[in-house]
């Protein structure tokens, strides 16, 4: 589970949004989109907690994968200063992912730093012939990333909260006006967005949750959430992907 990977490249692709490509054998175990890695940002004991970061792109031929994250805290700030050739200690791959089911036309909805895992998902869905439409929400034009990458896979619509690009408002201000009929949806983003999307779309779907994590592998009980049936789920091991309606948002 614990692996040392090597940084291939690191780049700031939007305001405080970093894309880091890592290389290592363990990439071969990464098959399911929506899984995450738990990254140690420093070899010292200054930062005792790892950072959970979703996998945004997997390239098994090259044994490389990509993580895309926002560096807005001390730990992710340290991560953003890693250079090509540096070693990164991570636990991977962790969590369940999105089921990649064949057939139909699906809606992929992402908000902010929830967008990255949806890229690998869309890639895999397109690879098996699923038609994808993407709706991505950001705060402002400076925060937008991966628009072109998603556009290469299917129709891609952008919403910004401040109206500086695309539709002014939230992702639901876009999805509300879509005329296509979709077979299912996949979403990742802030809880308020997941709730709005789940409530407004009358189709089945999958959502990916985030929470402050301790261990990342089911030991510490930090990242629990409530299931609709009254039981508890651990986001790190039972999730982060859940079926719509399974979790009380």
């Amino acid at each position: 589970m614990k692996n040392i990977m090597t940084v291939v490249s690191q780049e700031e692709i939007a305001d405080k949004i970093y894309e880091m490509v890592l290389e290592g054998e363990i990439t071969q175990n990464m098959t399911t989109p929506g899984q995450f890695v738990h990254v140690r940002v420093s070899g010292s004991t200054e930062n005792v907690l790892r950072r959970p970061i979703s996998i945004s792109d997997i390239n098994q031929d090259k044994s490389q994968f990509t993580i895309t994250y926002r560096a807005d805290g001390e730990g992710t700030g340290k991560l953003s200063r890693f250079k090509p050739g540096d070693a990164v200690d991570l636990l991977s791959p962790l969590g369940s992912g999105y089921p990649v089911e064949p057939g139909g036309h699906v809606l992929i909805v992402g908000g902010g730093i929830g967008v990255p895992p949806l890229y690998e998902l869309s890639k895999q869905l397109n690879a098996i012939g699923v038609k994808t439409t993407h709706v991505l929400g950001f705060n402002s034009s400076k925060d937008i990333f991966y628009e072109e990458k998603f556009r290469a896979l299917g129709e891609t619509l952008i919403a910004t909260a401040d109206g500086s690009y695309g539709t002014e408002g939230f992702v639901t201000d876009v999805t509300r006006h879509l005329t296509d009929s979709f077979d299912r949806f996949y979403a990742c983003g802030p809880k308020v967005m997941l709730k709005a999307v789940s409530d407004e779309l009358d189709i089945d779907g999958y959502i990916s949750l985030e929470e402050r994590m301790g261990c990342g592998f089911g030991v510490c009980y930090a990242c629990v959430c409530q299931r609709a049936d009254g039981t508890q789920a651990k986001i790190c091991t039972d999730g982060p992907v859940f079926r719509k309606g399974e979790i009380i948002l």
Partner: protein, 304 residues
């Protein structure tokens, strides 16, 4: 595999080595059993058991701090009966003594859990949790008043069929008074539990849903070393399992030096899930390098 230089005997416990995971940082071992052989550990301190299932606190439940972390899990556990039927049964396949952490909100609950769980074949000792800072009732209130702590220790000791170690809270004015009040009745002490703390977000609001949490990790090691040192000066013979921020073999040596007999590793299990077997392997090498007969030759160096 047993290295006689590392083996430690304590009431109820024959430890292959003095290193064990601390309660709350190892769940009930199943997740770690996929990473390494649990029989390698000196012992396992399992997550706190209460009479009834507890759902725990609202999230967020953890926040990182400088060289440490805050947690306010809230003693989430499936209840003592479930733990005995499932979690402890699972651990029976390993050759490792279990120290069962017992928690509650009323004395009767502690007594009932202690009575039940001490009957499990692999539970070799209890750790009386009178110091959890994250539950509204019970926990720390038992651990901050010497008289209450003494009464609870007495009752649990009577109910338990295995030795009882009392886990002391650092959130007290005088740790020696607390240790003395329970020390003649308890079979040993474990020290220390977490220190109450809080962390704010950028908007000035507490990050933890519980507002406060227990501070653990390397940040608290100096506090723990001092408290063990102080207690050891007054109680030369009480068995002490020391904990608080252990990350390296030097940390283990520090704990032995202030008078601990064995150590527990907590937070660092999250940072490095392989920390316990790594420390055990390194200790075996280091006792040879140091050319000592037994790791306890390092015990008490701070005051002898």
């Amino acid at each position: 595999m047993t290295n006689s230089k590392l083996a430690v005997s304590l009431p109820g416990l024959e430890l292959k080595n003095p290193v064990m995971p601390a309660s709350g940082c190892f769940s009930f071992g199943e997740e770690f059993s996929k990473l390494y052989d649990l029989s390698k550990l000196g012992a396992i301190m399992i997550k706190a058991a209460t009479e009834e299932e507890r759902p725990g606190n609202k999230t967020p439940r953890v926040a990182e701090t400088a060289s440490g972390m805050l947690n306010a899990i809230g003693l989430q556990n499936p209840g003592v009966d479930h733990i005995m039927e499932h979690e402890l049964k699972f651990l029976e396949q390993y050759d490792v003594p279990v120290i069962a952490n017992v928690a509650g909100t009323k004395i009767e609950d502690y007594v009932s859990v202690a009575e039940k769980i001490s009957g499990a074949p692999n539970v070799k000792a209890l750790e009386l949790n009178i110091s959890c800072p994250n539950v509204k009732e019970g926990g720390i209130q038992f651990g901050t008043d010497p008289e209450t702590a003494r009464k609870l220790t007495y009752e649990v000791k009577n109910a338990s069929s295995v030795p009882v170690y009392v886990k002391l809270s650092p959130n007290v004015t005088n740790i020696v008074d607390m240790a003395k009040s329970v020390g003649d009745m308890a079979d040993g002490l474990t020290m220390i539990n977490t220190l109450v703390g809080m962390r704010l977000d950028k908007s000035g609001r507490p990050i933890l849903a519980n507002i406060t949490g227990g501070l653990s990790g390397p940040a608290i090691k100096p506090v723990s070393l001092n408290m063990i040192y102080q207690v050891r000066q007054h109680m030369p013979d009480v068995p002490i399992i020391g904990m608080g921020g252990i990350a390296t073999t030097d940390d283990v040596f520090d704990y032995l030096s202030v008078g601990a007999d064995a150590v527990a590793v907590g937070t660092m299990n999250f940072t490095d899930p392989y920390i316990c077997p790594t420390l055990i392997d390194e200790l075996a090498t280091r006792v040879n390098t140091l050319n000592i007969d037994h790791i306890h030759d390092l015990k008490g160096r701070a005051y002898s």
